[in-house]
Symmetry: C2
Subunit: 702 residues, 2 copies
């Protein structure tokens, strides 16, 4: 007995040294870290006592190095910290964001190499984040990542909402399947895109949304992707273990690191209530505070654009059909024969400016304004655009004056054709041209394979390019909306001029064959967790042959669903994407788009199930008005709305824009009903949602 009592404290000490626990502030999460056999760092995660992540390895394999950063470690230090403060985003779903976490920083030492690495864990109430830190040290200064070996071991054959792993595009429809089914469905999930590089039959992208059979919602993603390759996940579908799979460069290398530095955060959100996932601000909280101090020039924006008419094929970006190829500077546009279908003409842009001014929009996006579109991608051509030379029929200064007179802003478009060097060469000149013509925002594009060949849209080289553009733009007080760029990871907290990104399958695919009707019930669980998406909603005419007889694509959405997107797809940048004439056909429904806010003091996620439905209520910035949006998946359902979010004892009028009973995304998408009802915080109503439908509510204080 004596002997045991001596040994027991020693044993506990031993365990303590090798196993560290971290709990979330609310106690729901319990993360355990230990160093397993061979000195491999291992963690596991539980939520309310249920296992979320089984013991999973951590670390990195290095290239041309005798040592790995995935084994041979001992714990030599650990430090704990608690953080709790509240910060005010420049724009957002809520007025203030609480950043509350418990932290555990484990210092790992590798005796054989005399190196050390820190793994820092932060446990929030909705999940955990962790990252690798490489402190300044003598024996680890520069290294090349061969593979990051971060594992996420699943507890079962969960349902996943996934898109195929791809180094060059995220523009896929989501597949909903068991983990074990991914391999079989992968090829089916890969649909044609301008530029795609898939890497594995079980590779998927983040944010990855999962649901366990016992009703746990899990989300895997990353935050603060800075100077590092974007992470994919590759599934070992025998053992159901995901492992990080970084985007390589032309040599297959995954990253060039100089210590001191840190990796992005790897994040795990989990809850038994799907709404908690949507409401999570963890990605932002894991990013640095804003580096832009004076932010008055960053403005949430509702806009229209010379865009959908090109997407549907009614108009063209190109000015002429005369040139089989273009050499900027040599090709003479002055005597070119216009094709008569060019969208970005002065007259047409004025029409959009008039429409914007009349209907209270802030801005007009114009694509196809600059020379080069006759010959703009697919050829490894480096100098496709110069970002400064307008077509002969686009009066840049004249339109500036006209827009100014109508109090409407113009939004610039910089399509790079995947040619970052050419874009960077023109960046200062192009930004200066913007500012001298009153443009405060730019939509960038990266269509096509990256030049130089071998680089990918999501590797470190390109991640650094996008970051360079964001920072450079900030210097000019320019807001950036990056299309085809790497998916956002909360960086907009640090650079709030990044007001939008595409980085997923947007509305344009409704004109390229259509997207799944439940697509928009998944995006907020995946793509939107890293930042807002320029989804470009608001399509009222679903039969695109009415716009362009050659376009047989159908928009898989009801009109009411399109209205709901302005609320469910949070973004400080919202487009009314359809043609003015289509809005003019439905002025009563269009009223919602005119009314809806783009910046919010509060957001309440009321109903949520990935792939099925999402209902959210948001309070418009600086007002007592609320807007509710609800999007529905493939099957009709009844949504139950509890107006408890309203201020008690106050009276409101709600205008409900809903699917008509006969509505259906495919057969009857324009069947909607609008009704006005008096509501208070005690009101409860039920609302029909058609397949691919939904509803939108505008609520004003009486």
């Amino acid at each position: 007995m004596k002997r045991i009592s001596v040994l027991l404290p020693l044993l506990l000490l031993f365990v303590a040294a090798f196993c560290q626990e971290l709990r979330s502030p609310n106690g729901n999460f319990r993360m355990n870290f230990s160093v397993a056999g061979g000195g491999r760092p291992v963690y596991r995660l539980a939520f309310k006592g249920r296992e979320v992540i089984k013991p999973s390895g951590l670390g990195l394999e290095l290239k041309n190095d005798s040592f790995s950063l995935a084994s041979g470690f001992v714990i030599t230090d650990s430090a704990r910290n608690t953080h709790d403060d509240t910060w005010t985003p420049v724009w957002g779903e809520v007025k203030q964001i609480r950043n509350h976490y418990n932290e555990l920083a484990i210092t790992l030492s590798q005796p054989a190499s005399k190196r050390k690495m820190v793994i820092r864990f932060r446990a929030f109430d909705e999940g955990i984040g962790f990252r690798y830190e490489f402190p300044a040290q003598e024996n680890l200064v520069y290294f090349i990542i061969k593979e990051e070996k971060t594992q996420f071991a699943m507890t079962g054959d969960h349902t996943a909402f996934w898109i195929p792993g791809d180094y060059d595009t995220q523009e896929y429809d989501y597949t909903t399947s068991r983990l074990s089914e991914i391999r079989g469905l992968q090829m089916k999930a890969i649909t044609a895109n301008v530029s795609q590089t898939s890497f594995s039959p079980t590779g998927v992208q983040t944010a990855l949304m999962l649901k366990t059979d016992d009703g746990l919602y899990i989300n895997l993603h990353e935050a603060a992707l800075i100077n590092y390759s974007c992470m994919h996940l590759n599934l070992d579908d025998k053992n159901l273990v995901f492992e990080s799979w970084l985007t390589p460069d032309a040599k297959g290398d995954k990253g060039y690191i100089q210590a001191p530095s840190v990796s992005p955060w790897r994040t795990i959100i989990a809850s038994d209530d799907a709404r908690d996932v949507l409401a999570s601000k963890m990605a932002y909280n894991l990013n640095e505070p804003s580096k832009i101090t004076e932010t008055s020039w960053i403005k949430p924006t509702k806009y229209v654009g010379v865009w959908w008419e090109m997407i549907t094929g009614k108009s063209t970006w190109a000015y002429t059909d005369q040139f089989p190829s273009v050499i900027l500077g040599a090709t003479d546009y002055r005597n070119a024969r216009p094709n008569g279908r060019h969208g970005a003409t002065t007259a047409n842009v004025k029409k959009y400016i008039d429409f914007a001014a009349k209907n209270g929009f802030d801005a007009v996006l114009v694509e196809g304004w600059n020379v080069g579109w006759e010959d703009w991608f697919g050829n490894m051509k480096e100098k496709v655009f110069d970002f400064i030379t307008p077509y002969p029929d686009f009066d840049l200064p004249g339109l500036h004056a006209y827009a100014q007179s109508k109090h409407v802003k113009l939004i610039m478009h910089h399509e790079t054709s995947g040619s970052p060097r050419n874009y960077e060469r023109y960046l200062d000149t192009a930004f200066r041209l913007m500012k001298s013509n009153g443009y405060d925002a730019v939509k960038t594009g990266y269509v096509g394979n990256i030049i130089p060949a071998g680089e990918n849209h999501y590797n470190q080289f390109m991640v650094n390019h996008y970051q360079y553009v964001i920072e450079k733009a900030a210097g000019y007080h320019i807001m950036v909306n990056g299309h085809e760029a790497v998916r956002p990871t909360g960086i907009a907290r640090t650079y709030p001029n990044m007001i939008g990104n595409e980085s997923a399958r947007g509305t344009e695919y409704q004109a390229f064959g259509g997207s799944k009707p439940n697509h928009v019930t998944i995006l907020p669980f995946t793509r939107l967790l890293g930042g807002p998406m320029d989804y470009t909603p608001g399509i009222f005419e679903m039969d695109l042959s009415k716009i362009n007889p050659k376009n047989s694509s159908h928009v898989n959405s009801t009109l009411a669903n399109q209205l709901a997107l302005y609320v469910t797809m949070y973004s400080p940048l919202q487009m009314a994407a359809d043609l003015p004439e289509n809005y003019e056909r439905f002025p009563d429904a269009f009223q919602f788009i005119k009314d809806v806010a783009v910046d919010w003091d509060d957001s309440k996620y009321m109903e949520a199930e990935p792939g099925k439905f999402i209902t959210v209520a948001r309070k418009a910035k600086g007002t007592e008005n609320w807007f509710v949006g609800s999007v529905n998946g493939d099957s009709a359902r009844i949504s139950a709305i509890d107006f408890g979010f309203l201020t008690p004892d106050k009276k409101y009028t709600a205008t409900v824009y809903a699917d008509a009973p006969a509505a259906h995304y495919k057969t009857n998408p324009q069947a909607y009903v609008i009704k006005k009802i008096a509501v208070t915080s005690k009101t409860r109503i039920k609302q029909f949602c058609a397949p691919g439908g939904g509803y939108a509510i505008s609520i004003t204080r009486d």
Copy 2:
């Protein structure tokens, strides 16, 4: 008989359609072009009736294309032209350059693909050039070069003066061997360099100098390398056929082409007199006239620099030894401990400025002035330098004022560490900083592997970068001296602000183990044919341990040889590379460097044999003064100087700086004699040249 007389004209017609001949204006060269079996374009070349190039194939293989551009052709057109004019270079060996050639442009059509390609030949009196032209056409717009298949079939196992084929460095000593010996000597020829990528056991670089057993001198090179990959040559050493081998990108592709466009010229110089090769201006003549119209700011420059003290290891580029690695912006230099050996201190630069002013030099180059040198290559680190932040001990505006007061210019140094994106990002800011501080010239550097990984120093992507820098610099009225950049190909005619290049093994290697004593008797036959080299001659102290006890390297040259280099190694940019204190030890010899011109009205190549000796006389710009330089190879020899180049009936004084009888590059390099003699156009003298020696003569009109 009747029948034959009918057939004969038809037969001649047939031959004419398939075989076209082009002669040089002087008739010495005869080029025959034909389309051989399978529609392969073939050419052959003869000089004075002797075969220079045996029938050799032409064309290109394309990637992912059903058709090749190397076969299946028929001749559908041919056009002839004669050109003869004279142009005035901004700087050069001669006052005016005659551009006289006969031209034959063959239009080849490929019936199967409905494509056409033009091969344009130009025959000059000293050789021929030809290039591929891809006219605008429907069926050939964009294509990727898989291989260029230009052949140069040798007539025998010639002697070659070659360096190993390499995508990343040209800084090799020359090997002199038979063609058949290249394979065996290749590995021996590859010596350690910071960045090298050799590609084949029989790969060599251009300009390649050759000599046949019957005394014919042949040179293979390229001209006007614009938007194309640099050409190497790969030897089929069984058949003694060289074939073009373009520098690939990360994917192994050799070039991305958009029609209409042209390839660089492939050039063949041949003569039975080696002096004709040296005097050739074909590379310039095959380039476009200057695109810079106002050129008064482009000035030939003689300079000293804070450089050799770092090269020899006496001083350092770095300011401190304290940082194992540097992160620009984060690393704090203000409190760093200086290492006490930093070369680019304000005080030391002032010393050089004083020395330059006192001795009539135009400028002072300063390397190591800007932060980052503690950690500057070898790590795929992209942001090594910012080109704008001086070290704490380098007073940028103060030195500007000081240099200005002494009427001395400062030369900027931009080392990129092989990181072109980072350089381009800073280019405008860096050039503006230069201009606001009185710098008119920049020495650029590309040490280390190119970032992004997989790109090479000489592929199309990088060729376009160097060109971008040259053109951008021209806009700022900045002269460029590019080190580690692609070898020049006569582009300085078009952009005369490119006043220098390294692109070969320069004097620095004399401090890194030494170069072969006959190196400088080969460079004018190879590297210099494309443009001037910043060879940085003028080393007076050959025992480098006297500068830095740890440096055991020996400069394999006599002091007289070093003086001769100012004349033999033509450049509008000439450095006196040694330390001021070494010049002060030999004021009589130093006088030649002070006197020698850097721009010329005329040049006479008097003696030449590659690997053995070169003697040239040049007439200083706008004067009646001449300078003669003679460099010698491994064995002592007697040079015969004929002063017939002088104006008849005029009297001159010649100061001869020559090897003393006991001089030897290894054992007695500083043994020189100086004598003054009266000379006229009738003077003939003989002059001893030691091994690795030579002489220099300064001739002034009495």
